[in-house]
Symmetry: C2
């Protein structure tokens, strides 16, 4: 029997998704699970978007134009103009979610055999797309004690080889909530110019920023040939299931390749492109995003205070997005701890699911004492979930001590 | 300035899309253009599908499950059961159109450097996906005089090398309308077993069949480990813009890889998956598809009769889909002829746009006297479009003779 391809065999399943069956089993046992393990907001999708889908005047649901529906492109150009970035329709293509924009960016920036620099911890699907395209991930390790900000540029520069084609990251970032400062973005830009690299900046959380301004790669001057923006409506509209994103670049050759990739996959879904037009044409759209931002801001503060009650836990207050990375005390394998929380522990019939940290690192052995928490639940639930986590940690440490004592 | 990747540079833009600006210019000059150049049906999308989208009960438009929404998978399993193919939810995943299903199939079946056999003429995006994945297309040339049916299996067998991983095709086929007989499908199956190849069968037009039964790869016994079905609702529902397809295989290892590819791209669009459920739950859905089939059947017959009026034109009556390939008299470069029709010709203010044939072949130099016609317009329009085509051919031949005479 013929083997499937080596690339797809080598793809790792998501470490988070692998644990989902344990949560399902816990629920079957009657345990309530607080899901802080995935980046799926709980906030209703804006009414204007939904109405735009439902009231779309469509008789024949034909292929949308490969680059995007013109009205959608125009609405997005206005959206960027509102944030102070002037673009033309030559600079933007609508994609099937940020995922497709990212895949297209990587395929256009890199030949098989090339290397990309990625600050770790990073979104695991970056590695999956790299593997599928024969591209090597070279991690730039960042530290929880630095709030996951970038190391000095000289250190990053040491990682650059003749095969390095791009540096890529998300900011504000999944999984850490770090948002690179304007100075960091300028430094990355200088590095890109000096070594002739593409910069792929994944910014779906740009509007979810709680400390200062989230600097977009499009705001850094002198990067027209280097900067590739990957964007998505999934998070800022709580519309993950819409599968609408975009790719933006002023590099004409780059966009010529993107256009050909768009043609191969024919089009992004029509209804949701029209939903986005309706949302962005609604005079209230900014206040809707602002309300969402405030909600996550408040959750972040509440969660951060709650985490302080866990003795020995290390974390920094994230600047944006809706994630926090936490180093746990007395944990040497956080995946085992997550399994324990789902399989063996409950506090009055409730438990908490988080994401183990190691799956977000490319460097082996790093992150095994860390977890990612997504604050995608209401504040009282966040407080309760941390209370459960804390109790779970205590029980886990005690159980492990007992096991160790029995073994001696 | 850094170059974009070699793969994306090497991608050919669609030969049809490259000509679209000429059609736009013709329209600006006031010429009406009959578009027989693309596979976009003109038939309204079924009401039940549209209602399913519009009435979907969604509060938070969250990621759909990566393998597909369970109700959508169930509805599709029933759909296949209705055509006599028994499947379980282990065998089917919902994809973002047939395009994604095809890309996933290719990526899972082949390593970079592998070869795939494809009967030509074929859908040009097959070659694009192959190029992006480092896979070599080995064409099996088929002939208009044989109605584009397969050559003897011994000839196909000669093309198999140690690098051959799969044979792939669409049936009923774009761009020729050929539908392989059960005997041909059985022979392909034997070849696949003998040489341990995957068979990727792309069947979006399966219900649009006018002579006999369209045999699906899933109906061929003994191919559980080899058969990969690529399917789509785009054509049979006239819902190209929905971006909903699926991939079906009973090969468990293959599906394990597909599952990982599904996770990387997160999910297929939610609204359209629910639209499909509504369509397939509608007791009238089969008669809706049947009405569409009858409409295209009648169009095919009308078009075929009309084409007989062109002296010297060669074609065979296609068995399915909504395309016909035609060899034109006195044409040595049909792309030049298509340009002539758009740039220089009109009959009482009207002209016809078709697709040049060479772009559907991988073998250089083949198909330059051929065109593809998509019968995606009402019958009176088809008759008029052929009348214009005929007049255009006469004028083109006369003009070229005059140019040749002047040059002597």
């Amino acid at each position: 029997m013929r083997n499937v391809s080596e690339r797809t065999s080598a793809l790792k399943g998501s470490p988070i998704r692998r644990l989902v069956p344990l949560a399902v089993a816990a629920k079957k046992r009657g345990i309530q699970v607080y899901h802080l393990n995935i980046g799926q907001p709980d906030i209703p999708t804006p009414h204007s978007f939904m109405q735009g889908v439902r009231e779309a005047k469509i008789d024949v649901l034909s292929y949308a134009p490969a680059p995007g529906i013109p009205a959608t492109i125009d609405a997005l150009l206005d959206f960027y103009a509102d944030m102070g970035v002037q673009l033309t329709d030559k600079d933007l293509r609508v994609t099937i979610g940020g995922s497709e924009a990212f895949a297209f960016a990587l395929q256009t920036a890199c030949n098989p055999g090339d290397e990309v620099l990625i600050p770790e911890p990073f979104y695991p699907n970056y590695a999956g797309h790299a593997l599928m395209n024969g591209i090597k991930v070279v991690p730039i390790t960042t530290r929880i004690e630095d709030g996951f900000h970038l190391p000095p540029m000289e250190e990053i520069e040491k990682l650059i080889s003749p095969k390095t084609a791009a540096i890529l990251f998300s900011t504000p970032g999944n999984p850490t909530g770090v948002a690179y400062t304007r100075e960091e973005m300028m430094a990355i830009g200088n590095l890109a110019r000096k070594h002739d690299l593409f910069v792929i900046s994944d910014e779906p959380y740009r509007e979810l920023m709680y400390e200062g301004h989230a600097t977009s790669i499009l705001e850094i001057p002198g990067l027209d040939e280097h900067a590739i923006l990957v964007d998505s409506i999934s998070k800022r509209l709580s519309a993950c299931g819409a599968r609408i994103g975009c790719i933006v670049t002023r590099n004409r050759d780059f966009m010529t390749s993107i256009d050909k990739l768009c043609m191969i996959r024919l089009s992004a879904p029509t209804f949701e492109q029209l939903g986005l037009v309706a949302f962005l044409k609604d005079p209230n759209y900014k206040s809707e995003i602002e309300q969402m931002r405030q909600k996550f801001h408040s959750r972040r503060d509440t969660l951060f205070e709650a985490l302080k009650t866990i003795p020995g836990a290390v974390c920094r207050k994230p600047e944006g997005a809706f994630y926090i990375f936490v180093k746990l005390p007395q944990i040497d394998d956080s995946e085992e701890f997550v399994k324990f929380m789902l399989n063996e522990f409950d506090l009055a019939g409730e438990t908490t699911m988080v994401a183990p940290g190691a799956g977000f690192y490319a460097t082996p052995g790093v992150g095994h004492d860390e977890i990612r928490i997504a604050y995608v639940l209401e504040e009282p639930k966040l407080v309760r979930a941390v209370e459960i986590l804390k109790a779970g940690l205590e029980t886990y440490a005690r159980t492990r001590q007992q096991v160790a004592a029995a073994a001696n």
